[in-house]
């Protein structure tokens, strides 16, 4: 199981938890797992998010490996100028 | 729109008088902006730069006659003007960028009739007069009598300004113009102040003209400002009194460039500072 930190305003859709556990070996499994376990997150997941894995930010690379030791944090989708 | 560039004053007057919606083009730095913004749609533009004398600066009765198409840059390069009326030269030099200086004119700045025109308070302080030509011939009027209200002048249809006359510089006289803008360049005056004064042998002010711009619908000559200075050395309490009467005389509005309180206060500050510079010049020193 991978521990995933979600930002504060998403906790409403994760039964109040800011850290949830998902079974996942890749980013894709993580996102699918989140949407499955916490349907309330789906609108936000569909709008797009970024994910920090061990301090590096990923946007869309489904097959980015994730291990149980990885630090995984959901972020608002980053945009720049 | 038609464009004409007549060679004589008479031809220019005929063109202007014959066409409603005719505009004079000298430097064009205001006119072209208004054309572009579709604020004006002239039927005719009369370029006066090809009329003899319009680009000349000539000595006359101890003063200087400046053709209506003389640019700010040309004034800034004229040793006689710089010596006699540095405040007026500085004021015209503050209009726009170096590029705008290559074209902008005193007459245009006046005819644009913006309450914030930089050269106008300086000309009023210098007691400059204008030679206006028109269908009825030519007439001379004081600068202060030309602006009527924002965007409006007292010129009659068919008339245009042929030249500006700066009178002979009084002995022991000096002038200065200061304006406040948020940046260091490229802005319209939030407040402008022109001061021209004469010192007597004791270093007291014997004559003065104090004018303010951008703090009312048109340039104002602040008589009370002159009264605050006359008979006193231009320092200390006299300057404080001057600042107070200038702040009191100001009738500004709140707009995108400044607030009423700010403009009132700064009108006094600039009057004080401009007077100090004018006094230094009156003593024959450089400032």
């Amino acid at each position: 199981m991978v521990k995933v930190r979600v930002w504060g305003s998403l906790a409403e859709f994760t039964e109040g938890q800011t850290e949830v556990e998902i079974k996942a070996d890749t980013l894709r499994e993580l996102l699918d797992g989140l949407a499955g376990e916490y349907p309330g997150l789906r609108p936000q997941l569909e709008r797009g998010i970024s994910v920090a894995i061990d301090g590096r930010v990923y946007n869309d690379s489904w097959f980015t490996p994730i291990s149980e030791e990885s630090e995984v944090v959901l972020l608002r989708r980053l945009k720049g100028g | 729109m038609r464009y004409e560039a007549p060679n004589s004053v008479e031809a220019a007057v005929d063109l202007l008088a014959a066409t409603e919606g005719a505009y004079v083009l000298a430097g064009g730095t205001d006119l072209l902006v208004k054309l572009r913004a579709e604020m004006l749609e002239p039927d005719l533009v009369v370029d006066i730069k090809r009329i003899a004398g319009m680009k000349d600066i000539t000595a006359e009765n101890g003063g200087w006659r400046i053709g209506a198409a003389v640019s700010g840059a040309e004034m800034g390069e004229h040793a006689g003007l710089l010596r006699d009326w540095p405040g007026v030269v500085e004021a015209v030099g503050l209009i726009g960028s170096t590029q705008v200086q290559g074209r902008a004119t005193l007459a245009g700045n006046l005819c644009n009739a913006s309450p914030a025109a930089d050269s106008v308070p300086a000309m009023v302080a210098a007691n400059a007069t204008l030679r206006i030509v028109g269908p009825k011939g030519s007439r001379d009027v004081a600068v202060i009598d030309v602006p009527a209200s924002p965007g409006k002048t007292t010129l009659a249809p068919g008339e245009f300004i042929a030249s500006v006359f700066l009178p002979a510089k009084p002995e022991h006289g000096g002038d200065a113009y200061l304006r406040f803008i948020p940046r260091t360049e490229m802005d319209i005056a939030v407040v402008g102040c022109g001061v021209s004064l004469v010192l007597d042998g004791a270093g007291k002010v014997s004559a003065a003209r104090v004018s303010l711009g951008a703090v009312g619908p048109k340039v104002m000559l602040v008589e009370a400002g002159a009264e605050a200075l006359i008979g006193r050395a231009p320092k200390g309490d006299a300057l404080e009194d001057l600042a107070a009467v200038c702040s009191a005389a100001a009738t500004p509005i709140d707009d995108k460039r400044g607030t009423v309180d700010f403009r009132r206060h700064v009108a006094g500050v600039l009057a004080r500072r401009a007077t100090e510079i004018a006094a230094i010049r009156a003593k024959g020193e450089t400032a």
Binding site: - | A5, L32, R36, A37, D47, S97, Q99, G102, E185, M186
Partner: protein, 159 residues
């Protein structure tokens, strides 16, 4: 609406063109003569990207009618280099990275050349005030000012 026939000199070449009365010199240069080196950043004389000289005087070509060019001598950025020889200011601007996007560069070069012709030894303050009408949003002006000062010093040494 009949067009005006204008005979003028642009970068030393005798040039004739037809224009509408309301066409600015910038419109003429860009749209009628294909000289797009002069840029329109504002059309109101506030940005300096359209700077040219007319009879040796620096002006905004957006604030002058094309018709006014009759009999004048106009120089633009296209006339700044001589053959394959860049003007020293052009060379220095590249060397000192005095441009980023490059849209303001033609106007700044024309303006800076005009300054150095008048004043071969300007102070930093003089350069900054001379160029105050040339907006640059990329560089913060630092490298531009340095490039102009250094070119001036080079030219003084060379003369």
């Amino acid at each position: 609406m009949s067009q005006i026939h204008v005979t003028t000199s642009i970068n030393g070449d005798a040039t004739e063109f037809l224009c509408e009365a309301e066409d600015t010199l910038l419109d003429v240069l860009r749209d009628r003569l294909g000289m797009t080196g002069s840029k329109e950043g504002c059309g109101t004389g506030d940005c300096g990207a359209c700077s040219v000289t007319v009879d040796g005087r620096l002006v905004c070509s957006c604030l002058m009618l094309g018709a006014e060019a009759e009999g004048r001598e106009v120089t633009t950025i296209e006339g700044m280099a001589t053959g394959d020889q860049l003007h020293p200011l052009q060379q220095k601007f590249i060397e000192m990275a005095a441009l980023q996007c490059g849209i303001c560069t033609p106007g700044i070069l024309v303006a800076a050349k005009s300054l150095l012709e008048k004043n071969p030894d300007p102070t930093e303050e003089e350069v900054r005030y001379w160029l105050a009408g040339n907006l640059c949003r990329c560089t913060g002006y630092d490298k531009i000012i340095r490039a102009v000062m250094e070119t001036a010093a080079d030219l003084r040494r060379a003369s």
